[in-house]
């Protein structure tokens, strides 16, 4: 960091080689005869940053930060020119300098102020003006505020401090200065605009574009947040009159006297607020800037190569599977069912059904979707045929939306079943609620007077057994949890799909359910043990073939992955 000198007028800190104060434009050096720097001339130095919209302050701030990032590795003391930043630069990169706790981008701002006081001054002017306008008229609508602010910006700028048209300028030089700045005010902003691709934007569009009043409020809010910080003195500090007086003491009286333009406007108006941004504010500004940029950024073309490969693989496996299934189903004779080893839960189910008394009351709960009805029907049909042969009293209850039509589909296929002897207990939307309602309905010892009779009439003595037909372990679990608490003496059996079985075995192991059958293999066992005929037959061969294909594909895929890893490792 270069050494700083204090402005004799406002007390703000400026760089050592600065000619004019970046806050109040007072002359800092006695030998300085430079007039107000021509912004256009300074633009020719390659300062491409500040060519955005006049009110594109977040973009400007980020542009300033980008400068800092670009020159991180260089010695700042030797830098005279500001780097040009293109819109393609990644906004949002933060490179906070740890030197004396001052962010690098802020340092950049100060450096630029020594070369182009207009830009920095105008930013500060706008910020202060915006703050003034917002403070003065907080109750008006945002649009009105923004309009007023824009008007004030378009009004006499003159060093940027005077936003109150009533304040007026007493100095002729200042008025000339204001006119020059007003004429050239937009050039640097236009360059920023060019860099960001925003050209030929009308003033109205600028005003209304991207809700910039919100940006304005945000900027002012930044300053409000910074006003609470004490002890930090920078060139953008707001100073009270007392501070001004104390700072005035620091004026080097040995300097040669020269005419210094006097600004007779009130100090509170003249001195712009400190512009220091916290990390959180910076991240918000980054997000806002990236959002604004992203709106105009061209969208990248989505690459779909991977999807076409996946589609081809899926087609290949579909052909493989369907062909093998078709060959198994339509060519050759049906295989006589050979039952495999009987699992403990299947054995428990068989024991239950063989020991079931004649005329027992069975509750059938339909908790599966039509997609699984082919599997469930294959397993449940032998059971229902056996129950019908024992003249069991069947009660039907459904907790799936398709339950009523699935009941009709399953029951309709059972030979010798008298549908009039079946009791339909209706539909419960949610299995857990249904189980709870079932438990409560059966255990009632007293009634509430005047209560409407329930549409469901449960048997007084309950059920001798419950058979749950479910396609998922979640549905079956809900029923098991409630029924084992509310109806602990009623044996529960499950007829589930193969996908639900692994997660329901713990309930059999803990004794909460008596038995469970699932999958085609258990269906074959039931057909064999209950002697209800052969319905599965030809499907079993195709089923076995499909399982073998999957196992082989998984192993081949693992070997292929291992080879790929080996090749990558060898190449490395």
């Amino acid at each position: 960091m270069t050494e700083k000198i204090t402005c004799p007028e406002c007390g703000a800190e400026n760089l050592e080689d600065a000619e004019f104060c970046i806050v109040c434009h007072a002359q800092l050096r006695e030998d300085s005869t430079l007039a107000f720097v021509d912004p256009q001339q300074s633009d020719q130095d390659g300062f491409d940053l500040l060519n955005g919209e006049e009110d594109d302050l977040p973009g400007l701030l980020h542009a300033l930060k980008q400068e800092d990032e670009a020159e991180t590795a260089e010695d700042k003391s030797q830098e005279n020119e500001l780097p040009s930043i293109t819109p393609e630069d990644e906004f949002g990169k933060e490179d906070i300098q740890e030197d004396e706790g001052i962010p690098g981008w802020l340092d950049r701002v100060r450096q630029r102020a020594t070369e182009e006081e207009d830009s920095t001054g105008e930013i500060t002017q706008k910020i202060s003006a915006a703050k003034e306008s917002l403070k003065g008229d907080k109750r008006s609508t945002q649009h009105e505020n923004f309009e007023t602010w824009i008007q004030k910006l378009r009004g006499p700028i003159g060093g940027g401090f005077d936003r109150d048209p009533e304040a007026g300028d007493s100095s002729d030089e200042l008025e000339e200065e204001q006119e020059e700045v007003q004429e050239k005010e937009s050039e640097w902003l236009q360059k920023i605009r060019k860099a960001e691709g925003k050209q030929n934007v009308t003033e109205d569009q600028r005003i209304l574009d991207h809700g910039e009043n919100g940006l304005l409020n945000w900027l002012v809010a930044l300053e409000d947040g910074e006003e609470d910080r004490s002890g930090e003195q920078g060139e953008f500090d707001i100073k009270t009159e007392e501070d001004q007086e104390s700072d005035e003491v620091k004026i080097d009286e040995s300097a040669a006297t020269q005419e210094i333009p006097v600004d007779e406007r009130p100090l509170s108006v003249r001195i712009p607020p400190k512009l220091s941004v916290t990390d959180e504010d910076r991240s918000q500004a980054d997000q806002l800037s990236s959002m604004i940029l992203d709106e105009n950024a061209p969208r990248p073309v989505r690459v779909i190569k991977r999807r076409s490969k996946l589609g081809a693989a899926r087609f290949f496996f579909a052909v493989l599977l369907i062909l093998s299934m078709s060959l198994s189903l339509f060519i050759g004779e049906a295989v006589v069912n050979q039952s495999g080893p009987i699992q403990p839960h299947t054995d428990g189910f068989l024991s239950w059904i063989k020991d079931l008394e004649e005329g027992a009351g069975i509750l059938l709960i339909f908790d599966y979707q039509p997609a699984y009805s082919s599997e469930i029907n294959l397993i449940a049909s032998p059971i229902l045929i056996d129950l019908v042969s024992r003249e069991s009293d069947l009660n039907l209850l459904s907790s799936s939306m398709s339950g009523p039509i699935l009941q009709r589909q399953l029951i309709g296929d059972i030979p010798g079943l008298d549908t009039d002897s079946i009791t339909d207990l209706g539909y419960f939307p949610i299995g857990a609620y249904g189980a709870f309602g079932l438990g409560m309905g059966i255990s009632a010892d007293w009634q509430i007077v005047g209560l409407p009779e329930s549409a469901r009439a449960f048997p007084d003595g309950g059920f001798d057994s419950i058979l749950i037909l479910s396609d998922t372990y979640g549905g079956a679990r809900a029923w098991i949890e409630q029924l084992t608490v509310l109806m602990p003496d009623t044996p529960i059996n499950l007829v589930v799909t193969a996908q639900a079985m692994p997660m329901l075995v713990p309930y059999f192991d803990s004794g909460q359910i008596i038995g469970m059958v699932s999958g085609l293999n258990d269906g074959v066992i039931l057909e064999t043990e209950l002697s209800t005929g052969v319905m599965i037959g030809m499907r079993r061969r195709a089923y076995q073939g499909g399982l073998v294909i999957l196992a082989a594909v998984m192993v081949i895929g693992a070997i292929n992955a291992g080879n790929q890893n080996g090749e990558e490792g060898g190449a490395a």
Partner: protein, 233 residues
């Protein structure tokens, strides 16, 4: 070929099956038409189901045909239903909080009761019971097997639960340690990962089995339809 009532349904089923299975060739308009037809039909069916199986027997029929004390009892659910319907208007969203509080209390209590009495207590008891010496010696030749089974069950269950533990070390000396689990939990979690993988592998094979049976059913249906179609010509 005689056109019968059943044939209509068979042709409809065949067309829908082919349209949906065409998705294997890629997303196409036939699949989308079948899907939208299915959704529309199912939505209509659900409306009729709710009206026929819930609203009519429990609300409308008792209100119309019941006595006035019964109707008075039903005023409460009627008010709750009206509140729920009214809450769909933006201005009256706040009204829906009462019926939703009813449902939330009901769901929460059933979830708590079911979880505690239906799963946590019985399953924990099953783990404890597996260490019952009477069970070990119930089958003479399988004592050591049952002991091994009990130990594996305990270690595996604790390991699986440890896998879902998201706590962090309490006393840490560095930032790296702050992001780590306690050592014992981490060790058990590795064991749990293996058992979870084993369980999920079994579930995966079950899911494939169910879907394979569905595929077999559809191939069988298409084959039988085409066979009958060619035979009829």
């Amino acid at each position: 070929m005689t056109f019968t009532y059943e044939l209509l349904w068979i042709i409809l089923s065949f067309l829908l099956t082919v349209m949906v299975l065409s998705y294997l060739l890629g997303d196409n308009i036939f699949f989308r038409v079948a899907a939208h037809l299915f959704i529309g039909l199912t939505a209509g069916y659900v409306v009729l189901l709710i009206a026929n199986q819930i609203l009519w027997p429990y609300l409308i029929n008792p209100l119309i045909n019941g006595t006035w004390p019964e109707a008075l009892w039903l005023a409460i659910p009627v008010v709750l239903i009206l509140m729920l319907l009214l809450s769909q208007i933006r201005r009256f969203t706040w009204i829906g909080s009462l019926p939703l509080a009813y449902l939330a209390g009901l769901a929460a209590a059933i979830a708590v009761g079911g979880a505690v009495f239906g799963t946590l207590l019985p399953q924990s008891r099953a783990i404890v019971d597996s260490f019952d010496p009477a069970r070990w010696y119930a089958v003479p030749n399988q004592t050591w097997l049952r002991i091994l089974d009990a130990v594996v069950m305990l270690v595996g269950t604790v390991g699986t639960l440890s896998f879902f533990h998201f706590g962090r070390k309490q006393k840490t000396t560095s930032e790296e340690e702050y992001e780590k689990q306690p050592s014992i939990i981490e060790g058990l979690s590795k064991v749990g990962q293996v058992f979870i993988g084993i369980t999920l592998g079994a579930v995966f094979s079950g899911v494939f089995s169910s879907s394979l049976l569905a595929l077999i059913d559809r191939i069988l249906f298409i084959g039988q339809f085409l066979t009958n179609l060619f035979r009829s010509f």
